[in-house]
């Protein structure tokens, strides 16, 4: 299987004047193969979301290299990244906040297509297709983010991420802001996409049960470091590290 995403010794240090530099992500390395789903778990503040931002280059990488399909994208500028964003897309934690409050959902979903020079009529058609694929009627394209529920908005966000037909979809706590039944529906949608489109996922989550159900491999993150990695079942059944054990116990109790 070909390697899509390759992270080597990724490190992110936040520096603030008058404060000690803070290592949010410390020497994290992993690879993501085509069609694979990699879970990243850890408690709040363990650096999960920072990793998501590093992988999409929304913040600068302090040290280490990030390669996509063998090409070094660690230091690309925003204008050069446009091409990479055709292959790597992201679904955010807060579905409603990830859409511009003054623009319709359809406008947000079609934005990447228009930026790639698609004609207006074609964009409209494609947006309708995408919405349908994600289980929404095409009328939702005309709605504003505050007019729909969180679950519907997250479906629209997934539709937006799929618009450019990416190879890797990064889900940063994509189901955490939703209640349990909606969470299940969204997970089914993601599973469906995984099977039908052969998408690769980086699935960032604090819920071990979801990770066990959905991921092929998992990294356990603690204070910015990978403390354990492997197959979810193994890690949950026989955690080697003290921290992982606590994480598993916390779910069971």
């Amino acid at each position: 299987m070909s390697i899509l995403l390759e992270a080597e010794h990724l490190t992110k240090i936040f520096t603030q004047r008058g404060k000690n530099p803070f290592k949010a992500v410390n020497d994290v390395s992993f690879t993501l193969k085509k069609g694979e789903t990699l879970g990243i778990v850890g408690e709040s503040g363990s650096g999960k979301s920072t990793i998501a931002k590093l992988l999409t280059r929304l913040t600068d990488i302090t040290e280490g290299t990030l390669k996509f399909e063998g090409k070094d994208i660690t230091r690309l500028k925003q204008s050069q990244l446009k091409e990479v964003y055709g292959d790597i897309q992201m679904v955010f934690q807060n579905p409603v906040g990830s859409f511009d409050p003054r623009r319709t959902l359809g406008d947000g979903i079609g934005e990447s297509l228009r930026n790639r020079g698609m004609k207006k009529a074609d964009v409209e058609k494609r947006v309708a297709e995408l919405l349908e694929q994600c289980g929404l009627e095409k009328e939702y394209a005309k709605r504003y983010p505050h007019e729909v529920s969180g679950g519907q908005c997250q479906r629209a966000a997934i539709a937006r991420a799929l618009a450019v037909e990416p190879k890797v979809l990064i889900c940063d706590e994509a189901t955490s802001a939703l209640d349990v039944t909606i969470q299940k529906q969204i997970m089914e949608l993601l599973k469906d996409l995984k099977e039908k489109k052969g998408l690769s996922f980086i699935f960032i989550c604090h819920n071990l049960a979801l990770v066990q159900m959905f991921c092929d491999r998992v990294l356990v993150l603690y204070e910015g470091k990978v403390v354990e990695s492997g197959i979810p079942d193994d890690i949950i059944n026989e955690p080697k590290e003290e921290y992982t054990r606590r994480l598993v116990d916390a779910v069971l109790s």
Binding site: T56, Y85, F92, S98, F99, R102, S112, N115
Partner: protein, 288 residues
């Protein structure tokens, strides 16, 4: 049960409040539009030629013929006040439009890109904010020389930092919103993000500041003219009219009071309109 009733009461109170604000907004908007119409059609609304001298009827007290009296040269004060509306209101509008657009543009760019340019622009705006605005504007106007355009330029130079501060702060906050990240991932250029996603979402505070600024700027322009740094004699402008009549405040008060009241009324109208717009756009009042 009682909680539900309480909630209903709050909703009703909010609705009444909202309606009240709407009525207020309509009221002040009509008054402000009235002033603008007065300024636009000032030539046709003046009962006399505001520049025609008639020394035989100089300094007459208000009468049916001259509702606001006449000045030292026998010019009809009402006509001069009406035609002065044009100079005052239009200069103010141009001034506020220029500073709000330029200041906001500078602020958004500084907030979005940061770096050295941001630091330099913000230090310049610190300098502008450190001095009392009118004093600084007086200095600049004095260098540029008299004339209402120069007064507008002087006030623009001192007043833009307010907008760039607001715009910069808003931009810094909005920049971290997930939808801006989503826009980056959609392949938007920096320009697109600033114009399509940041500007529309910060228009509220900028608009409110601009509305509230109309009154202030009108007063400062009149102030500069009063000091002889703005509109030049014999141009009909409220500030310079007050200035030329100020020695007569005890003997012929209408010469000073008519333009003074005109300034007072129009500044009050635009300030109250600005306040109401702020209340109207306040999310606490609009979401129910």
């Amino acid at each position: 049960m009682s909680e539900k009733q309480n909630k209903n009461v709050t909703v009703r109170v909010q609705k009444i409040k909202k309606n009240h604000i709407k009525q207020k907004l309509a009221f002040f908007l009509i008054l402000a539009i009235g002033l603008v119409v007065l300024a636009v059609f000032s030539e046709h609304l003046c009962p006399y030629d505001p520049y025609a001298q008639d020394l035989a009827s100089a300094l007459q007290p208000p009468s049916l013929q001259h509702p606001m009296g006449t000045d030292t040269y026998g010019r009809d004060m009402l006509s001069r006040v009406i035609s002065g509306a044009r100079a005052s209101i239009f200069s103010t509008f141009i001034l506020v439009a220029v500073i709000s657009v330029l200041g906001t543009a500078v602020g958004v760019c500084c907030g979005y890109f940061g770096g050295a340019a941001d630091a330099v622009m913000m230090r310049i705006s610190d300098v502008c904010l450190a001095f009392p605005g009118l004093v600084f504007a007086m200095a600049i106007a004095a260098i540029l020389g008299g004339g209402i355009q120069n007064a507008v330029i002087a006030l623009a130079v001192v007043s833009w930092p307010k907008y760039s501060r607001i715009a910069r702060g808003q931009t810094l906050a909005l920049k971290e919103e997930p939808y801006i990240h989503a826009a980056i991932l959609a392949g938007d250029s920096s320009g697109q993000i600033m114009l399509r996603h940041i500007l529309p979402n910060m228009l509220g505070p900028v608009l409110v500041t601009a509305m509230l600024d109309i009154g202030t700027m009108m007063m400062e322009l009149a102030g500069l003219s009063f000091l002889g740094l703005g509109a030049q004699i014999p141009m009909a402008e409220w500030g310079s009219m007050m200035s030329s009549g100020r020695s007569m405040i005890q003997t012929y008060p209408w010469v000073v009071l008519s333009p003074g009241i005109a300034i007072f009324i129009s500044v009050a109208i635009f300030n109250l309109l600005g306040d109401t717009v702020r209340d109207y756009l306040d999310p606490k009042n609009s979401r129910s």
